[in-house]
Symmetry: C2
Subunit: 670 residues, 2 copies
């Protein structure tokens, strides 16, 4: 080929450039950062791909979505369909966790173009004898591409299309069997391939739907005052599984530093015997690959993980890349830290604040390659004990290129690992962590409290680009965050936030038992930290304390488990509720979720006002389901078992928080 053509023309993949490839394929979605990062989905899901596809002139085109496992040869292709405005859509149901590739192929379909023109000319009463001769030539070409049996059929069609009996020839040309045969042997000689092969990461099911429970093992000792251990935690598994949780997340389980150890309520100096913060990792007993001796042995931990699996619970570990001043790394790898002119290591600080019990790792270390390999090996070490889910502490304070490399290289070997980013930071940093590989992310949910805030945030999360790569995990509380809204201790408020987290997001979690017991005192006015935080001391919990909301948690988790509409986040539609005609209600909010196959429909109605009954008229969007606004249907409140017959789109709803601050309706349209 003439080199002059190469310079300015687009490069197509897997083939030499051919100027006859007239079909244009652009604006493929999902395509993250121009194809730099993979889109994400979860095993067993339907994955949709869209593209703008068109050709010059009036020719008919055919488009295919091409899909394959990364590294395999050959593509699995399926026809795409036109959506209007030159937008096309295709889909594929994905298999096991792993890395896949997709692209789009399209071609001018001369046979179809010809057939459409023929029909119009026949309708207009024009002479089509020459057109039939032209069509027969297309069929001749099909014969060459077809297998033996079909070639014979096509030869017959070609012959009939050339018949001197006009009626016979037209009947043959328009025969649907001919069209089917011609589609079976497409002319791909000048087909266009999209100029990128895009990546798709398929993750395990819990990446897309998970129910998290966080506990501090040391608080679960068999008797008051005794340091809890993994064997104590094993005994709690039936309780945790019974409440409906399927991920059990443990704060760091490693040896805790002594130097500058923090005391109760974050005191700068710990009293003798105080356990310290488990995020100040490492002492003479070991670092990130060691178990704090008071929690048990590595074998105890492995047994705990194995036992949890029997209850359907995945144990998630907290990976916090920071060191106490006593961490072995400080001696063994001094080059990974920042040393000051006085010969000490720089501790963490956010001037003028100082965090002297923690040393940050220097990601600009000249020895960054060995640092990266060691940090990655920490994940591999715990994967070796059976852990597949990691909650990573403050990933936004470690270099992004490290995460990109670490997560993708771990996934090459262990495609079913799940990473939750504990990032409460600016929006673009959170999105970046998701792009570079995190399965899930902590979110702003905790601080989205009004109807408008919650709806805006959900729309942001469930629209492009975020919906293609970021999965928010909604936590109404964490050991660091007791939101002001909960500080009143109002039990109803705890249930409201529980319902919102559990029904808005398919991934949600809580720091328990603080949440189920409605623990609500902050360490000080205007603070979001808990008083007597478990981060700095061993607590005892009376799980049956009056006012607890364990029954509500159990019921709501069961509803999530039984309704696939709640096992996904992105198919959500906020519906209108009016306080009076034309006036949107500002305390009642409602949203519809649908399962992928459309068979399960959940309408949640939440009263954001814990202090009083609210009522209004709700408009159920029957048009989403192709139904008339007069269609009668039934809704069943899964929280109290009551059913209602609704006679059309507008229906009266009332939510009395003293009974239950929400309805979770299963909608039965048929």
């Amino acid at each position: 080929m003439n080199n002059a053509f190469r310079r300015a023309v687009p490069q197509y993949i897997n083939q030499e450039f051919d100027g006859r490839q007239r079909v244009v394929i652009e604006n493929v979605s999902p395509e993250i950062d121009g194809g730099k990062y993979p889109a994400k989905t979860v095993e067993g899901q339907c994955f949709f791909v869209e593209a703008d596809i068109f050709v010059d002139g009036a020719d008919t085109i055919t488009a295919e979505l091409c899909f394959r496992t990364l590294g395999s040869t050959g593509w699995q292709c399926s026809l795409m369909e036109q959506q209007g405005n030159d937008r096309w859509q295709g889909s594929i149901t994905v298999g096991l966790p792993g890395r896949y590739e997709y692209t789009v192929k399209a071609r001018v379909d001369h046979f179809q173009t010809w057939k459409k023109g023929l029909s119009k000319k026949i309708d207009a009463g024009q002479d089509v004898s020459l057109d039939l001769q032209i069509g027969a030539l297309y069929i001749d070409e099909g014969v060459k591409r077809a297998g033996a049996a079909d070639a014979a059929k096509l030869t017959l069609f070609a012959s009939r299309t050339r018949s001197s009996d006009a009626g016979e020839a037209i009947a043959a040309a328009l025969d649907v069997q001919l069209a089917i045969l011609m589609e079976r042997y497409p002319d791909n000689a000048h087909a266009s391939l999209y100029d990128k092969v895009l990546a798709l990461t398929v993750e395990q099911k819990k990446a897309g739907c998970s129910t998290w429970y966080e506990l501090f093992p040391r608080s679960w000792g068999s008797e008051p005052g005794k340091h809890g251990n993994f064997n104590d935690c094993r005994r709690q598994l039936p309780m945790i599984a019974g409440m409906g949780f399927d991920v059990l997340y443990l704060p760091p389980i490693h040896p805790i530093g002594y130097t500058k150890r923090k005391g109760k309520n974050n005191a700068l100096v710990a009293a003798p015997g105080e356990p310290g913060s488990c995020w100040a990792i490492g002492n003479r007993d070991g670092g990130h690959k060691a178990v704090h001796p008071e929690l048990g042995t590595l074998e105890d931990f492995t047994a705990f993980v194995t036992e949890a699996e029997k209850y359907g619970i995945s144990v998630a570990l907290d990976i916090a890349f920071q060191c106490s001043p006593d961490h072995p790394y400080v001696i063994e790898h001094p080059q990974w830290f920042t040393w000051r002119p006085d010969g000490t290591v720089q501790f963490a600080e956010n001037p003028p604040k100082r965090y002297e019990d923690i040393l940050p790792i220097n990601f600009e270390s000249a020895d960054w390659q060995n640092l990266w390999i060691e940090l990655k090996s920490i994940f591999l070490f715990w994967i070796g004990t059976g852990v597949k889910i990691f909650r990573v502490d403050n990933p936004h304070t470690k270099a992004f290129p490290f995460w990109e490399w670490a997560i993708s290289s771990i996934r090459e070997e262990y495609p079913d690992t799940v990473f939750l980013a504990e990032a409460f930071t600016r929006p673009k940093l959170m999105a970046r962590l998701a792009k570079v590989g995190y399965s899930q992310s902590y979110s702003y949910f905790t601080w989205r409290n009004t109807k408008q805030e919650l709806q805006d945030y959900m729309i942001d999360l469930t629209s492009a680009p975020l919906k293609h790569f970021m999965r928010a995990n909604f936590w109404p509380n964490t050991p660091d965050i007791l939101h002001e809204e909960l500080q009143s201790g109002d039990r109803v408020k705890f249930i409201i936030r529980l319902v919102l987290a559990a029904t808005l997001s398919s991934n949600y979690g809580m720091y328990g038992p603080a949440y189920e017991l409605c623990e609500h005192l902050p360490v000080g006015e205007g603070k979001e930290e808990y008083l007597d935080s478990e981060k700095y001391e061993i607590r005892q919990w009376d799980l049956d304390r009056p006012g607890n909301i364990r029954a509500e948690i159990t019921r709501i988790n069961r509803i999530r488990k039984e309704n696939s509409a709640l096992q996904q986040t992105c198919d959500i539609t906020f519906v209108r509720i009016e306080a009076s005609p034309g006036l949107e209600h500002n305390q009642l909010m409602a949203y519809v979720k649908r399962s992928e196959d459309g068979s399960n429909i959940i309408l949640t109605v939440v009263n954001l006002d814990q202090s009083g009954k609210q009522a209004g008229w709700l408009r159920f969007p029957l048009e989403l389901f192709g139904l008339s606004h007069l269609h009668p249907f039934k809704v069943e409140d899964l929280l109290n078992g009551l059913s209602y017959n609704w006679s059309g789109e507008w229906n009266y709803v009332e939510v009395n928080p003293w009974n239950m601050p929400a309805h979770i309706f299963r909608v039965l349209l048929a």
Copy 2:
């Protein structure tokens, strides 16, 4: 470098991957289709680039926009500024037409990070003696990077920062001169470069601002009934320039086919002596590189082009890649056409419609490379006569890859060529033509008639992504399109559409003299074609016909010429006009445009209702200019010379179409 690191990590340009490059640069704008196509601007304009730039943790960063002529080595870099939400912006004023490149560079600024922390610690009354020692080390590094004179200054600063006198040391550390010196010698060791180098096409001024006049030379004969020629057209140049046009566009000037020649009003058979459609190109006298003998010689044409330039007028040629059955290509390059089984060439058709006077070129020809080279050579041929502007007929019916190659390769040699796409087709095809290189595009303006339609369309055109690569040219009429709105012949309506085209878009044009004479009869009811269309016959025009709008055209073009705010399209703000309090006026529309330097401000108010006076209250957006809503200012109507003193944002406006259906106010804020 360990190969294991290469696989999953991002690739940075022009350097080996280094994991210490912590700064993230993403979401650069403009970036067309992931960098596949160049952004566009016009010589002398300020070109703005934005990017999301951030780093893990709390370090301070510095970012630069890097710019260069394509193919040159070394970059011209300028600092970018933070816009909030991790968005940064930089700009550069571009030079001559040609191809340029840009990218973004950013780095952690450890010195600035340190200085900020130092200030906070000082404010908090903390001991900073160790911090000063640390800072002195950063200054030592600066000394190594600095030139001799500055190195000496920095050495002194390092020494003072180490002073045992705390006051002296702090004063040195916070000295603004030190900060300036340190910024002059940045530490780029671990700077991040954006992973793409993006292309920018800078075009000549008329690509961005042009005023087009279309005429059929054959109608300008020196006496009635005589075929006009280029010499006749030369005599019209003072008139055309006097009206303020700077591009004179001629329909095809080539020999016209005889076979199946169309007659008056698109009759299927021409009567003897009828001239035929000039879009049926080619006969025994030649094809696309020949001049229709009755128009004159090639020398006459070249002289005409040269003469026009003296009036500031660029002659634009129509390039229509289609052939009459008599075109020499049919004999010389039969392989470029589609032959039918009966031995004839396939004519153009859109079943059941047939266009037998025109043969389409087959872009799937096996000989496509020679076809492309020949078609490109047609542009080069006319460039040789001095033509720099081409209006391309129906480019959306020719293969897109051809345009991409042809336009970019012509521009390599002739960067000041301008291409206008005569594409009235679906939105994505129009955008694609702009991406692959067209300077301007015909638009939907003709069919956008209500206030809402016009505003929506303008917002679409002036927002990303279109604003980065597509420039609409607004035509109130063309020889093919006499919109229903104009068919009443209402002179005021013609002025309304003129004002809209001329003030909404910096590129606009008209088919004259049909427009200035308010020619308004369609060929039939419900048709948009003109009766007695010049496409098929020679017309005579009485330029002084009563009711013409030449004076208005002249005045409006002069206003465009004198007001740079109207010489650009994208800086436009639609302003509110209320018919009654709280109710948006649906007939009065108004918009503000600003010149790039902000010195010229034009507020246009148009009454879309040609039948009656309309009035309302207009809110001028003083906040755009950083002024109070009570700020008094002056507006001067450039159409009638009247001035008004306005005392704040809300002002009464009245537009009486019987005087003039619009105000074009120059706004004098100071």
